[in-house]
C-alpha cells in the first residue's frame, strides 16, 4: 500500500530524516512515535508531497509520488499538525471546497460530505463558521477534510493533540473505524495512544528509525526493569533499608516528603527490580516489619524511558534490526 524507500531530508548540513525505510499494508494502522523534533512531521510531509525529499522514494498504491505527484496525492488524505481550515468559511463551504479540490465528481460530493460529517460528528455544526468553533471541532473538521475523498492512504499528524479526554477517545475510535478501508499512518508522542490505536509502531529518533514492532512486543522488549511505586506508613529511612535488602531489588529511591508535612505522612518509595516479579516479596518485607502498606503499583514505562533505554543500548545492531523488522 505504502512503500517508503531510503527517504532522507536535510536542511543544509542538518539531516532531519535519514534513510527511512518502511512499508504499510492495506488496512493497517501504523503509528509514528517519537519526541518532538524527531522528524515525524517532516516524514509525513514528504509522504504527502508537501516537502520534496532530498533523497528516496515514496510509493502510494503502486504510484511513485516523485513521478506522478497528482495521481499519488489523489490517493492520500492528510491531516497536518494544524488543521488546514479557513476560519472565514462555514464547515459546509469548506468541505465543498475540499471536495472540488480533491476532484470528487460533482454528483458524489453531497453524499461524501454527508458521510464525512456523520463520521466526524459534525452534522450539528455544518452551517457554523469554522473560526467560531472550539478546538476539538476544528480538529474534527480537519479529519473530515482528510477522509472526505475516502483515499486509500490516510496520514494523520498528531490527530488527538489538543483534544479533551473524551474527544481523544472518540477520535481514537474513529481512527480504528477507518482502518480496514484505509491504511492509516498517525504520529503521536504518547505511548499509550500508540498502544491502544496502532497495529504497528515505528519509533523515530533524530530522523532515524530505531525500532519497529507491535506495541505489545515493543513495550515488552524495551522494559528491561520493572519499576514499582510503594506507599508505606512507617519510618521512611528504615523502610528504604528494608526494601533494599529484598532479593531482586536493584535500587530504592525515597521521594522527599513535602515541606511542612505531618510526621505520620506515608513514605513514598520507588523500587526498581532486576527482573522478575518481586511484588509479593516487597509486600512481605513491609508487613513483617509491622508497617502499613498503603499502595503498591507498577509504574508504566513512559516513552522517555523507552528512549533512554534505546539510547543506552550500545549495540549499533538496533537500527539494522529495526529496519529488518520493518521490511
Amino acid at each position: 500500500m505504502l512503500e517508503v524507500q531510503h527517504l532522507s531530508k536535510s536542511y543544509g548540513p542538518f539531516p532531519a530524516v535519514s534513510d527511512l525505510n518502511f512499508n504499510a499494508q492495506k488496512g493497517e494502522i501504523l503509528g509514528f512515535l517519537g519526541p518532538n523534533g524527531a522528524g515525524k512531521t517532516t516524514t509525513m510531509r514528504m509522504i504527502t508531497g508537501y516537502l520534496p525529499p532530498s533523497e528516496g522514494r515514496v510509493t502510494v498504491d503502486g504510484i511513485v509520488l516523485q513521478d506522478q505527484p497528482l495521481e499519488a496525492k489523489r490517493r492520500t488524505g492528510y491531516l497536518p499538525e494544524l488543521p488546514p481550515v479557513y476560519p472565514e468559511l462555514t464547515v459546509e463551504d469548506y468541505l465543498r471546497f475540499v471536495a472540488r479540490l480533491k476532484r470528487i465528481p460533482t454528483r458524489e460530493q453531497a453524499a461524501k460530505i454527508d458521510r464525512a460529517c456523520q463520521r466526524c460528528a459534525l452534522t450539528d455544526v455544518r452551517r457554523r463558521i469554522i473560526g467560531r468553533l472550539s478546538k476539538g471541532y476544528r480538529q474534527r473538521v480537519g479529519i473530515a477534510q482528510a477522509i472526505l475523498s475516502e483515499p486509500p492512504l490516510l496520514i494523520l499528524d498528531e490527530p488527538t493533540a489538543g483534544l479533551d479526554p473524551r474527544q481523544i477517545i472518540e477520535t481514537r475510535e474513529l481512527i480504528r473505524g477507518l482502518a480496514g478501508e484505509h491504511t492509516v499512518i498517525l504520529s503521536t508522542h504518547i505511548l499509550s495512544e500508540a498502544a491502544t490505536t496502532c497495529d504497528r509502531v515505528l519509533i523515530i529518533r533524530r530522523g532515524r528509525l530505531v525500532a519497529a514492532d507491535t506495541p505489545a512486543n515493543l513495550t515488552h522488549r524495551l522494559k528491561k526493569t520493572d519499576t514499582l511505586l510503594l506507599e508505606i506508613r512507617g519510618p521512611a529511612e528504615a523502610a528504604r533499608a528494608a526494601l533494599a535488602a529484598v532479593p531482586g531489588v536493584a535500587r530504592v529511591e525515597l521521594s522527599a516528603a513535602l515541606p511542612g508535612a505531618a510526621a505520620d505522612t506515608p513514605a513514598r518509595l520507588t523500587v526498581e527490580s532486576q527482573g522478575g516479579d518481586i511484588r509479593e516479596a516487597l509486600a512481605r518485607a513491609v508487613v513483617s516489619a509491622g508497617w502499613g502498606l498503603l499502595e503498591l503499583k507498577p509504574v508504566e514505562v513512559s516513552l522517555e524511558e523507552i528512549f533512554l533505554s534505546l539510547t543506552d543500548e550500545p549495540a549499533a545492531a538496533e537500527p539494522a534490526e529495526a529496519a529488518a523488522a520493518a521490511q
Partner: protein, 251 residues
C-alpha cells in the same frame, strides 16, 4: 480545470465574507466618484468659459477621460494591495498551504485561481467606473474606441498589479508585510518615470521604461502600442509564473 474553478470560488467566498471585497468596492466607489464629480465639474466650467469665446466644449477624451483614468489608476494603486496581500501570506500562516500542496491540484491552478478571483473584483471596480462614465456617454460624445482602450489599459494595469501583489504575498506569512511591500512597489513603479523630467541618460530611460505610468499613458489616450502591451503582459505572466515557482520551494 475543476481545481482552478474550486480556487476561484473559494477566494471569492472569502473576499465577500471577510468582507474585504465590500470594503474595497465601497471605497473605490466613493473615491472614484469624488474624482469623477470634481473633474466633471472642472471640465464643465472650463467648457462653459471656453464657449464664451466661441471655442465650444473641450475635447472630452483629453480633458476629462484621460486625467480621470490616471486618478482611477492611483485609486487602484492604493486599493489593490488589500486584495492581494492575503492571498498567499494567509495560506502559509494558517497552514492551509499544506492542504493545497498535498491535494491533486497543480500549483499553476492555485496561482491562476487566486489571480482570477482578484481580477473578478477588479472587473466589478471597472463596472463602477463605467457606471459613472455613462453620464458622459449620455451628455457628451466621447470617442468610444478611445474609451474602450482606456478601460483595457486600466484592466491590464490592474492585472499587472495583482500579479506582482500575489508574488510578494507568496514571500511572507505576514499579510501586513505583504501589503506594505506591495503598495511601496506600486508607488515606486508609478513614479519611476519622473526621472525623465530632469535627466535624459540611460538610467533615466530605463526607469522610464520600468514605470507603469509611461505605459499606461498611451492607453488613456486611446493608443495601443505593442511595447506597452508587452510590458503589462510580461509583468502579469512573469509575476504569476514566479509565484508558481515559489510554491515549489520548501518554506
Amino acid at each position: 480545470m475543476s481545481g482552478l474553478w474550486a480556487m476561484i470560488r473559494k477566494e471569492w467566498k472569502i473576499y465577500f465574507v471577510t468582507p474585504a471585497a465590500y470594503v474595497v468596492l465601497a471605497l473605490f466607489a466613493l473615491i472614484s466618484g469624488f474624482f469623477f464629480y470634481s473633474m466633471l465639474a472642472v471640465y464643465v466650467m472650463q467648457s462653459l468659459s471656453g464657449g464664451e469665446f466661441g471655442g465650444g466644449a473641450l475635447n472630452v477624451n483629453t480633458q476629462l477621460i484621460q486625467p480621470l483614468f490616471f486618478d482611477l489608476g492611483i485609486t487602484l494603486l492604493f486599493l489593490l494591495p488589500m486584495l492581494t496581500m492575503r492571498l498567499y501570506a494567509e495560506e502559509f500562516r494558517s497552514g492551509t498551504m499544506e492542504l493545497l500542496k498535498t491535494s491533486p491540484i497543480h500549483r499553476l491552478q492555485v496561482v491562476l485561481g487566486k489571480f482570477f478571483a482578484a481580477f473578478g473584483i477588479v472587473l466589478l471596480l471597472l463596472l463602477i467606473a463605467f457606471a459613472y462614465l455613462t453620464v458622459v456617454l449620455h451628455y457628451g460624445k466621447p470617442d468610444l474606441s478611445a474609451l474602450a482602450v482606456a478601460f483595457l489599459g486600466l484592466a491590464l494595469m490592474a492585472a499587472a498589479f495583482l500579479a506582482l501583489g500575489i508574488l510578494i504575498s507568496s514571500f511572507t506569512r505576514n499579510q501586513i508585510v505583504a501589503g506594505v511591500v506591495t503598495f511601496s512597489l506600486f508607488l515606486l513603479l508609478w513614479v519611476a518615470g519622473w526621472t525623465t523630467a530632469y535627466s535624459s541618460g540611460t538610467i533615466a530611460s530605463v526607469f522610464s521604461y520600468l514605470s507603469i505610468t509611461t505605459h499606461f499613458q498611451n492607453f488613456t489616450l486611446g493608443l495601443i502600442d505593442l511595447k506597452d502591451l508587452v510590458y503589462f503582459l510580461s509583468l502579469i505572466v512573469g509575476g504569476l509564473f514566479l509565484t508558481a515557482r515559489r510554491m515549489e520551494l520548501a518554506e
